[in-house]
Each structure stands twice: as C-alpha cells, then as structure tokens.
C-alpha cells in the first residue's frame, strides 16, 4: 500500500503547477554561495554550477556564485554543516535531490531531520529508466518483470546507488506495480555510479540497468543500451519521445529524481522569498529550458511552501517503503 502511495504522490507532484510568488523586497545576496554536497562531477555539483552560472548570466546575482564542494556522508556532512554552523546565513543555498530525501527518510544523516532546513525550489526532474543492453532478448518491461516473478535469481539488476538508494527503490516500485508481492526477492547489484553499472550491463555481467535518464543518455545515443521503460507519466519530448513509458505497458510505476535546493533553517523570510523568486525566474527562462533539454531534465516546477510539503511527503513515503523492504526498522 505504501508503494501505491508513493506512485500517487509522484503523480501529484507532476501535476503540481508553479505558483508565482509575489516579488520580494529586493533581496540580493552579498556573497552568493552554493554548497554541492559531493565531489565535483556529480549531479549536485552540476546543479550548483549550472544554476550559479545562469543566475549570473541572467543578471539575477551580481557576483559569481561561489560553489563549495563539501562531500561526505552522501550529503550528510553538508547537511550537518549547514544546520550546525551556517544556520543563519542568507547567502547560502545547498543542492539537493531525491537521494537527499531518501537519506533523510532512512535516517542516514544521524541526528538530522528535514525540518532543520528550509526547502527552496526544484529545478527539474530526472526520470528513472530501466534499460537492457542492445543485444538483450528482453523487449518490454512486463517481459523483464515476468522473468523476475518466475525466477528472481535469473535476473540481476544493476544500479548506481546503494541498496535502499533511489535506483534500487525505482526498480522495486516497478516490480510492485507489476504484482510482485515480495519485492525483496529482486536481485539488485549496487555499483559506484551509473556509468559503472552500464559498463557491467554491456559486459553481460547483469541483465538490466536501473538509473536516471541523464545517466543513460550517452549510452542510448551511442546505441549500446536500449531503454525499455521510462518511469514518467507520459512520453517525454524531443529525442526521448521514442522511449515507452512504464505506464503505457501496463506497469503503473513513476519515479522521478528531482533536483533542487534547500537553504539554512535560520534563513530570513526575506532571503527565502528572494531565493525562491530568483530560482523561479531562472526556471522560466529560455536558457534554462535549453539546459534542461541537453541534460535530459524533465519539467518539475515546485517552489516555496509547495516544495516544502512535497519533500516532506516523499520522505514519509520513502520511509514506509524502506520499512517494507527491511532497510529501516
């Protein structure tokens, strides 16, 4: 039942419309800073750098956004730093994504909860995909899930996150939607990042890949892997239009890895509204649309209170699914 809930709310999130906030009294960060809670190169780093660059190009901030890489604990080090030391900063935003919510839900940031920070806005979503190698006999998602249902040992699914991480949860959501009751049977193999997982898919060590569209994009373009399902409510635009959704194949599964920002819990209301405003302006710009397109990001426009509520919902739902598969007690 929790899985069903998760799907429902994912759907709700996609319908969520942007609410234009009243323009705040000209808040301008003195020294805009963005913490990317990971080493350079990952999604969080990308989020900080692209948004920083675009905010400056659009003239929304006058100074260059300083990007600080504060890796550790899957974002937990940055979270603790913000809560403990930077709680009053008005100039600071921190990149976050579904995995931030997943870890908060599973208590992987010891002593920290989502209420300790203020959630600002999302800047897009990266839909989950399930893919097979180009030579695979598997053609459709139901076919793959039937194989798993018949003999769970015959199919290894590789993903870039740890067991219980978002890549793992996505395949469980799909399995559950297909009527596999005991999702713990699904054989998931964790790799260090989507690239490594795809490499092993190509090597034939595993039979299927679960990951984000942006991770899979390069390998799809080169013809090495075939996407059998994208976990989006309807087909995506442009070059991704060929990918069938899980839903149209009769598997009612949705999985979006959102990207967005939070700010310190003690951030003033003025600064909070200012940042939300700036990110909204950025989101509406043509430049940002182009960036989303080249990076395989799909629209997801939530900000302010709406975003806060959305994050709280996802945390609650991930908590219950994690309990179901025994990740947390």
């Amino acid at each position: 039942m929790t899985l069903a809930n998760l799907r429902l709310s994912a759907a709700a999130l996609l319908i969520g419309a942007a609410v234009a906030l009243p323009a705040s009294a000209d808040f301008a960060p003195q020294n805009p800073e963005c913490i990317a809670p990971a080493n350079p190169g990952g999604g969080w780093d990308f989020t900080c750098r692209q948004v920083g660059k675009e905010l400056q190009d659009l003239g929304l901030i006058s100074k260059t956004m300083q990007v600080v890489n504060l890796a550790g604990g899957g974002g937990g080090v940055a979270f603790a730093e913000v809560v403990n030391k930077r709680n009053d900063s008005d100039d600071l935003i921190v990149a976050a994504s579904s995995s931030t919510a997943t870890r908060l839900a599973q208590g992987a940031y010891p002593g920290n909860t989502l209420e300790q920070v203020r959630w600002l806005a999302s800047i897009g979503a990266d839909y989950g995909v399930i893919a097979v190698s180009k030579d695979s006999e598997i053609e459709t998602l139901p076919q793959l899930l039937d194989m798993i249902a018949e003999d769970p040992r015959s199919v290894s699914v590789a993903g870039g996150s740890a067991v219980g991480g978002w890549d793992h949860l996505k395949v469980l959501i799909a399995a559950n939607a297909h009527g596999i009751e005991d999702v713990r049977q699904v054989k998931y193999v964790a790799f260090d990042g989507g690239g490594e997982a795809v490499t092993q898919l190509l090597a034939g060590s595993v039979q299927a890949f679960t990951g984000d569209l942006s991770e899979a994009k390069g390998f799809v373009d080169s013809g090495d892997i075939r996407v059998i399902a994208v976990l989006a409510p309807e087909r995506l635009d442009g070059e991704f239009a060929d990918f069938p959704t899980a839903r149209e194949q009769g598997v009612d599964a949705l999985g979006a890895n959102w990207r967005g920002f939070y700010g310190p819990g003690g951030m003033s209301d003025e600064a909070y509204d200012g940042w939300v405003d700036m990110i909204n302006t950025l989101y509406a710009s043509e430049e940002w649309k182009a960036i989303m397109e080249t990076n395989g990001l799909a629209p997801l426009d939530l900000s302010g209170d709406e975003f806060q509520a959305f994050v709280a919902d996802s945390v609650a739902q991930i908590q219950s699914i994690s309990r179901e598969i025994g990740i947390i007690k």
């Binding site: 890796a71 740890a162 991480g165 193999v189 490594e196 373009d221 080249t294 990740i327």
Partner: protein
C-alpha cells in the same frame, strides 16, 4: 590515415599562442605541485579549476591547462620521492624505494634525470596508446566483470609482499591494516554504516588523500622532530645533486625496463579505478621479479627508478582513455577532469569523439606538446624545482606541515579530516618505528573497497556461488599469476637472502 589527419587538426587547435602558453603554465605549476608533498595531481588540478573558470577559458584551453597540470604533477611527484623520501603524490611512492637510496649514494642528479626520461617515455607511449586504443576501449573494459576485477585486486595484493619490504609478514600485516581501514564507512552493497560510530564524516570512509598525507608527510615531520630535536642543521639533507644527465650506459640499461613498464602502466591506467598508483606499483613489482637477479632493487637500482616512473606516467595517459571514451574515470585525477568537462557542458563518453573532435584531438596534441615541454623542464631545469625542496629541513618541515594542513583543509573544508590526518601521522610514525612498510597500508585503504564490492557483486550475481570467481579464462589467468607471484618470492626470496647473507659474512670476514 584517419588518425593522423585528425591528429594534424588537433595540432592546429593546440598550436595557438594562448594554448601553448597555457600548456607551459600548466606544466610548470603541475611540476611544482607534484613535487610538493601533499599536493598531488588531483588536488593540483582541483586547485586550478577556479583559475580556468575565472579566465573565462573555453573547453579546449581549459582542458589543455588542466591536463598539463596533470602530466606535470605526475612528473613532479618523483622529485620529492627521490630527494626527501616523501612521495610528492601517491603514485610516486614506489619511486621512493630506489630513488632515495640513489640520492643517498650521491646519485640524486642521475636519479632525477633518469626518472625524467622514464616519465617522458611512459607518457609518450601512453599518449600514442590513447590515440590508438580509445576507440577500441569499450571491448577491453568489457572483459572485466566483477569476478575479474576481484582477481585483479587479489593479484595486486598477493604480489605486494616482496615489493616494499624484506619481511613478507610485515607487509602482509600492513596490507591487512589497510584493508581493515577500507571497511570504514557506509557499505555500498547494503547501505549499512560500518565502524562509523555515528560520525557522519566517516560515512564515506577514510579519504585516502588524507591518509596519504598523514602517513607520509606528517610522519616525516614527526620523525624529524624526534631525531633532530634541538639540532636542526640536518646533516643528511645537504644532498649532493650531482650531474644532471644520466650516463648513457644507465639509460641504455634501463631502456627495456622503460618500454615494458610503459605498456604495463598504460594497461593498468586504462582499467577503470585502478589508476596510476597501481600502474607504478605493478610496474615496479614486475621489474623486480623480472630483472632483479642480484637483489639490488630497493638499494638504489636505476631500473627501480625508471620502472615506477615510466609506469605511473603511462598510467596517467591510460587513465584518460576510459574517461574520454566511456565517461568512466580511470583514476582520482581523471574524475576531477571529468567534472571539469561536465561543467563545460561536454559529455564525455562514446559520443565525444564524434561530437567534439576538436576538443579530443586538440587535447591529445596538447598532451604531446606538454610532454616535450616537461622533458625540457625536468632535465636541464630540474635544479630549479629541486631548489624548492633543497631548503633546510628546519624550514622545509614546517612548510610540509603547513602545506599538509592547508592542502587537506582546502580539499574538503572540514576540520574532521585534519584530525584524521594527524591520527594517520602518528600511526605512520609508529609503523615506521616498527619497520612496517607504509605503502601496503595505503594500497589496502585505496583498493580495499573496490575489491570488497567486486567480490560481493560477483557473488550476488551468481547467487552465492563462490566458483563464479574462477569462471572465466581471464579470471583464471589472473589468479594463476597472483598465486605464482605470491609463492615465488617465498622460494626464490629465501634462496636470494641466503646468498646475500653468505656474501655479507664473507664481506665481514674480509674486513
């Protein structure tokens, strides 16, 4: 030919005034960063990323600057290994083993110039390898599944024994210690934190850069404090550099070594994750097995200097192959470079060669140019860099300590890492007192996680069947080499030691 015309286009891109200037700047800064203990290629590149962005450089010039730093740091790492017995960066640790003894014999100049040539040969061959192999890479990488990776790591550890210590038991202990340290952090297979004591900084495990700086640089400072207490004139440090060109005979004797280890290092670099450290390590051990008949490795054998240097520079080139062709970095530094590419809106991977040929070939041409610049900088001008290191220890050691602290804090911005570094410094000092080699500790910490994960992946995929580990010809081959590499030194080593002991006794009598 297709490749040659692409390369010619690449030189067209690289041979502009700006790009040449950037390559020169990168080579110079890279060598200095490589030479300074604590600053290695990955933090060297990381430090210069802001520079590339503030200058508003385009993708190709930025990459030229940063890969020049990368190659430069690989060259520079050897300087402090040879002169100070502190590896300037982590791949240069094997160079300490013979480089420093050479310097102690008054052959520092020869060691420096010989290793410069070896670096050149390694990097030159690797750049050609990059050109030829990058398009073919996917197939090679795909032969390695989790089981094969596990066998490869096992090979690395089993051949470790005879390399860094005369006492196999001590180096086995050191390797186990390193593997144990690698267990700290969230287990990526199950998401369960291990040995973290609720400390969020430990969730990602120990940062091996922190461990390296602590074990090597800080313990050096501690040893210095202990030994030179109240007497900081440091007699041993007034090293004679000697002539800056190696005798022709020495180069000739080392040529086969350089060629062999360049190829080996390149292959090690290409394997994702293995990187330059494994390249220099495997190169050294292979050469030791292959040509060290008289047991001179470890006592200042020129071949023991040439082997790891050719190996690690070749591995640096090799590590670029999977980064460019697959988008999977082959080492820590290429992971940083990958990050730069992504923020410049270029997606490395199978499509890069088709979509951005100017970037790829401009970069490759720049690597050739940088390599020649580095050879020029590192042979005649090596004195300039050594002067940086020839300052007396009472000045140098505080600087080492300072750079260690600033460098580590600069990477993570976390004081927790500084505590960890100091702890490793003390541990390094203790281990040195007990004559336990430090290199296996680092290798254990560095490779332990990947090794464990690959073991567990292999077993998971095959439903708990352990036979999966020897289920492919490649895996069987790797295991065979590993077992031979482990058993052989026990037999041969005992015989060599016996012979050496006899010779020592004869020597004692003759005196």
């Amino acid at each position: 030919m297709d490749i040659l015309s692409s390369l010619a286009d690449g030189f067209g891109v690289a041979l502009t005034f700006q790009n040449l200037g950037l390559a020169l700047l990168g080579c110079f800064l890279g060598t200095i960063m490589g030479a300074l203990p604590g600053l290695g290629p990955s933090n060297g590149v990381a430090i210069l990323i802001p520079l590339a962005f503030t200058l508003g450089l385009g993708p190709t010039p930025s990459l030229i600057l940063l890969t020049s730093v990368y190659y430069g740091a690989m060259y520079g790492g050897r300087i402090s290994s040879i002169l100070l017995n502190i590896p300037g960066d982590e791949p240069a640790m094997m160079t300490c083993l013979d480089g420093h003894p050479m310097a102690k014999k008054g052959l520092a100049g020869e060691a420096l110039s010989l290793s410069g040539i070896a670096s050149f040969v390694g990097a030159f061959i690797a750049t050609w390898g990059l050109i030829l192999l990058a398009p073919q890479l996917v197939k090679i990488a795909l032969l390695f599944g989790p089981a094969e990776y596990f066998a490869l790591f096992a090979l690395a550890f089993m051949t470790l024994g005879g390399v860094s210590s005369t006492n196999q038991a001590k180096s086995a202990f050191a390797a186990m210690l390193g593997l144990g340290l690698a267990m700290i952090g969230v287990d990526t297979q199950t998401g369960v934190p291990r040995f973290t004591f609720g400390e969020v900084h430990l969730y990602d495990g120990l940062d091996f850069l922190v461990a390296i700086v602590g074990l090597f640089a800080l313990s050096e400072v501690f040893i210095f404090l202990e030994e030179r207490h109240g007497n900081s004139d440091a007699k041993g440090k007034s090293l004679i550099i000697g002539r800056l060109t190696p005798p022709w005979a020495m180069v000739k004797a080392c040529t086969p070594t350089m060629l062999r280890t360049s190829v080996l290092g390149f292959v090690a670099g290409v394997l994702p994750g293995a990187g330059a450290s494994l390249g220099s390590f495997i190169s050294y051990s292979m050469e030791k097995r292959l040509v060290d008949k008289a047991g001179t490795f470890g006592t200042g054998d020129p071949r023991g200097v040439a082997a790891p240097e050719a190996g690690n520079n070749a591995a640096a080139g090799g590590a670029l192959v999977p980064m460019l062709a697959l988008g999977v970095p082959g080492s820590g530094t290429t992971a940083v470079l990958l990050a730069v590419l992504l923020s410049l809106n270029i997606t490395p991977g199978p499509l890069l060669f088709a979509n951005n040929p100017d970037v790829v070939w401009g970069l490759i041409a720049a690597l050739f140019i940088a390599n020649f610049m580095l050879l020029a900088m590192n042979i005649p001008m090596v004195g300039l860099f050594t002067r940086v290191l020839m300052v007396p220890p009472k000045v140098l050691m505080p600087i080492v300590a300072m750079v260690s602290f600033v460098g580590i804090y600069g990477i993570s911005g976390s004081t927790f890492d500084l505590y960890v570094m100091v702890a490793f410094g003390v541990a390094g000092w203790l281990l040195r007192k007990l004559d336990i080699p430090l290199v296996p500790v680092i290798l254990g910490t560095l490779l332990g996680n990947a090794m464990e994960n690959n073991l567990r992946r292999a077993i998971t995929i095959d439903d708990g069947n352990w036979w999966t580990l020897i289920d492919s010809p490649l895996a069987i081959g790797l295991w065979a080499v590993a077992i031979v590499g482990f058993v052989l030194p026990l037999i041969v080593g005992a015989r060599i030691k016996a012979r050496m002991r006899r010779r020592d006794e004869e020597g004692a009598i003759a005196d």
